[in-house]
Symmetry: C5
Subunit: 251 residues, 5 copies
């Protein structure tokens, strides 16, 4: 059997996608609309103000969703509570939940060898780096792309049948590609093994949407993606302040 990389986990993540029921929105009287907006803003602000973890809201383009409410929390229970709390708002009555994704932030031994060595000295820089991966901040006012992915277990190309070193080397090359986008792209990598239909969720943030396209395209040429990556649906949108919810709904 191939060697399993050590992993460490941080916050649990729920990508909670919502569509607006625009027909109902149009038929809702102004006062009820305002109440829906107010309760939605209050919900988003309360969730963002949790003691540990964070919540952010994004607009999503196209038919797959209108909103992404992204929750990060220290426990699965807190994620579950955040999801259900939304249903107590009047805003929820104007939305459906077409899809979602459950995962937990993760770092692995491919990425930071030392961190996982039993008697490894972890310096403060690495500590902060890992902390940023496990308890990430969500950048303000930036574009977002989310997609789930798995590693291929094909009859010819089987990620899980490779040696640790082969995998680690491909991950290192992949990391190098990523470094070319330092300052332009931030990412949250979260594992959904045992939790959802793919193995990982990838959430990318950028001030320029074309940087998202460029990094995903460039990485597709890396062996780790070209030979071993299997991708689900892609969602693109932009973060907005909770207070702008009314403006968003007004079109």
């Amino acid at each position: 059997m191939a060697e399993v990389p050590p992993t460490d986990e941080g916050w649990y993540v729920l990508h909670d996608f919502r569509t607006i029921d625009w027909d109902e929105w149009r038929e809702t009287p102004e006062a009820d609309r305002q109440r829906a907006i107010d309760e939605g803003v209050d919900y988003l602000n309360e969730q963002a103000a949790v003691e540990e973890g964070t919540t952010a809201v994004f607009s999503i383009i196209g038919h797959k969703a209108d909103l992404l409410v992204l929750h990060l929390r220290p426990t699965l229970d807190a994620v579950s509570t955040a999801e259900r709390a939304f249903e107590r708002t009047a805003l929820a009555g104007l939305t459906d939940q077409p899809t979602s994704y459950v995962s937990v932030t993760e770092v692995s031994g491919y990425v930071s060898d030392e961190y996982f060595q039993e008697d490894g000295e972890v310096d403060a820089g690495l500590e902060r780096y890992i902390e940023g991966k496990l308890k990430p901040e969500i950048p303000d006012d930036e574009y977002v792309s989310f997609y789930p992915m798995s590693k291929r277990r094909g009859e010819e190309y089987n990620w899980y049948d490779l040696s640790f070193d082969e995998r680690a080397e491909m991950m290192a090359v992949h990391g190098e590609t990523g470094k070319g986008y330092a300052g332009k792209i931030k990412q949250i990598i979260s594992s959904s093994v045992g939790f959802d239909d793919y193995e990982w969720g990838v959430t990318l943030f950028a001030a320029e949407p074309t940087d998202i396209k460029d990094i995903v395209y460039e990485m597709r040429f890396d062996d780790v993606s070209s030979k071993y990556g299997e991708f689900g649906s892609f969602y693109v949108g932009r973060r907005f302040p909770a207070e702008d919810l009314g403006a968003y709904l007004a079109g």
Copy 2:
């Protein structure tokens, strides 16, 4: 033709997934909500109190379901009755059934050779072990992960074309991986061959959700999964006492 492993079966299993119709919930007057909760709690308690078998309820995170009602019964008819009895409750009117899974608990000759030998002496320990597999208890207050799976019949890697010994050896290695999680993970393995769309259902329980992630991830590197496993959707949640249904619905 390859040798077929002997199997023995215990209780039939229905994973009955339900979504809450939150729009209807919000519009339901308080008294009717309370009646729905009361009837739901009564239903869950009555089902859990059946003479043989058991029933438990779990919250599920994300859009795929809100509740999992897990029934184990000595006959398919008793499973069918349990499923339909739910429809007599007021709670049912607030839910939909987006998916489900039908199976029967199973032990096979890969796992316990002696148990299946015609004149094999089965000691009390093995007897209890097998009994625990066929008539499993559902642990209180733990996280759950459910997923269906089949063995691959690929053009290169075909589980059903391997010799019994090759299969048994891979299953043994898989079992060894599992033993590393003793005390952390409990599981129900149930066959759905001829009953549902995949060949088996796997239901994992853990006090720590990351243990679920870890065992599924580590096992994915076992040949039996890496080369021969095909997985359906994953559902994650947590068991709660029937009496907490009202609190769950209140958000």
Copy 3:
């Protein structure tokens, strides 16, 4: 081109799956419920009493369906009429039709060589055997499993590219596996080539559901299934007398 097996056909078959709209059922006044039940029972009895062919009703477990109404008729038109006649009952208003399957009972030259030889003498026993395949009886009060299947046309394993003898030999082995279940399993094999999405429908009947699991599992190790079988969804349930429809709906 590979040699095509001769075939003979009997009755056309419709597997008409129905879900109960339980929300509507709960809201239907008692008198209207009774009318729905009465009309449903009358419909089922009338259909079962057709001059040629038969109709039976089964409960189905899980979300995929609640009822299977199985029609066998000498013509496609009679099948179509039976399907539409259901829509004239009050019961139909409480159901949806989530799926269905159209096929025709079939015997092929793999199974009974002599039957298809032009000047072959067909003795009375074989005649009765074939008749039982083409105009099958539906056993009372037994469990049912239905699934559609096709033969694989893979790039490596292509059923339609094998010689007749290779196919016939594998079918013979498959038949031997089946003989091990004589007295325990009855089956209807019907072709859906040109009629529905897979190539055949398989309908199994057994007094013990685990016999269904066992035969499907054991057969999966036969080359014909392990290398050449592609399976659709599986549905499991139990036949009940039309008169028990009210009891079924009452939960």
Copy 4:
């Protein structure tokens, strides 16, 4: 690059599948039902009476559809107009459109070499044959089977990577199989390349439904299907005169 066969096109084709909303039908007062029938019959007769092209209606068995309205027209615009004109009838209010298929009748250089030679002499017989392919008549009162298909572009078996001669030879063998059904099967072959999700639509007509099964099954053994055919969903039904619409809806 492989040589592309020359093609010629005739009428555009819309397979417009409709389900009856039986719940609504049952609740519709008799007078409104009659109006729906009358407008439906008028629509079908008017469409069938277009100057160029034709329209026919078929019953379809099973859950996928209840009716197939088949339009052939000299332009895509005329097809679009025919589709939308249906929506002006009261009948449309009792139906949904679960699926459809857009294509154009086509002959190719595989089939009739001479027809496509620049200075080829096309005799009157071939002219009529081609005309019958491009502007086909729809046989009265016969069974219909529709399915879409594409040619496989597998990693091993890639139709588009074969030489013209290899393709032409397989098509010729396929044509020979078809000739065995002369007088029993009529067909419309229409290309949907660039128009719909598969590459061609196949519409078969027969007085005997088992002839449909037999030809599709026999052809599946031809290399062109066995190695290179990829099939979508199959729909089976029967043509009926527009005037019988009321009888059809009455069950």
Copy 5:
């Protein structure tokens, strides 16, 4: 790792597909219909009149959609705004959004080598050519075909594992095929990497629909498509002036 082609991007693109809710349309009083049409026409005209970018409306044939509203804009935000502005019209209440596609116009180093050379001299002709790709005009009154596509990453044929030269040569051959349709076919190529489920969207325009069929069919024989192309759903329709919306809805 294989060399990544340089790319440049222009306008963001939203293919916004809409179905008409014909049942609701039929039940809408004439005055409200007229208001829906008026607001729809105003919306389309306002969107088409944006300072940078453009909007066009097309009829679509078959069940997948009735209308395609095609937006091109300099920013993703402007695309998002255009999508939501539609929801403020009364027309929106008569439509659903079954699907959509998000992308950005793109030119790549395969196509125009010089354009991407750092000190390359880009003459005015090439500049205009590139500008036409990145900020394309939508031809009036022509037929449209839209489909998404990806490059295959198969175990045998993996586009992303080829050398740049191999890819560039195949793209050049593909370009040659395209040149044979100069004057007959116009196209918009837009990347959806990181934005939507396939890697590119292809939007073809032609005065003759059979030219669309011919180019897609001929290109399918190019290695780049035959071995490396994976296609999603195809949509076909025709552009019409916003003012004709009422006539379109009238059937």
